[in-house]
Amino acid sequence: MKFAIQINEGPYTHEASDSAYMFTKAVIEGGHEVTRVFFYHDGVNNGTRLTTPPQDDRHVVNRWAELAKENDLDLVLCVAAAQRRGIADADESKRNGKDADNIQEGFRISGLGQLIEAGIQADRLVVFGD
């Protein structure tokens, strides 16, 4: 069965990103397919490579990136949400005249159409947020 996952909150403040991660892992372990993980609203803050959590804490961003690499997941950050919140890849950074970018490898930035497409293509859309 095809699952799409939507995440509305960034790392560490809400449990949403943790729950979504564990759910996504369980979907894969259950033999299902994850068609897309869509990071929306504050959820785009999961996609920055500049985080440095305490040594004894989980690394939410890296954990997503690793899960994506191992399972060829499509991690999409909503472009409009990312622009408002300062998450940029090299292209976005250049286009907006910024001197740096901060996206974590394994994530990509794209439009809201990707969420709608995910809703059409997947059998289940499961949302995690506040």
Binding site: Y40, H41, A80, A81, G111, L112, G113, L115, I116, E117, G119, I120, Q121, D123, L125, V127, G129
Partner: protein, 137 residues
């Protein structure tokens, strides 16, 4: 379900406008989603009914006033707008407090009709139950 088929989309709007960005984002997705030619329905319940209040003016808080955009939904063929009666009642509101949202019915000589339908909580449950995809805001 194969990609060629049409799905029943339901946008579930439960949050008040302005205090959080969700109402604005929901509108955005609805407008972008209109191009995907699915069967689109909008539900307003709980504090979501406040999104349709007449007379919103965001000048004082310095944010964009997106309320007028709801009136354009009819032009995007988004004309199935369900507002929960119990949510209105609890807030002391009636349909008269909401912006009139209309569309032109091409099957009825382009007559202007209301897009808003007031439904009971039980009907809202049916609406959710009969949808293929829920977008939650």
């Amino acid at each position: 379900m194969s990609e060629g088929t049409t799905k029943q989309f339901l946008y579930v709007n439960r949050k008040a406008p302005h205090g959080t960005v969700y109402a604005l984002e929901s509108l955005e997705v609805v407008l972008i989603g209109a191009a995907f030619e699915q069967d689109v329905r909008l539900a307003f319940l709980d504090d979501g009914v406040f999104q349709l209040m007449k007379g919103q003016d965001t000048t004082g808080i310095g944010t964009k006033n997106f309320a007028p955009t709801y009136k354009a939904l009819g032009d995007y063929d988004v004309n199935k707008i369900y507002v929960e009666k119990e949510s209105l009642d609890e807030r002391g509101l009636t349909e008269d407090d909401l912006m009139p949202l209309t569309y032109e019915d091409e099957d009825d000589d382009w007559a202007e009709k209301s897009s808003i339908k007031i439904v009971s909580r039980a009907e809202m449950a049916d609406l959710i139950d009969s949808s293929d995809v829920m977008f939650n805001f």
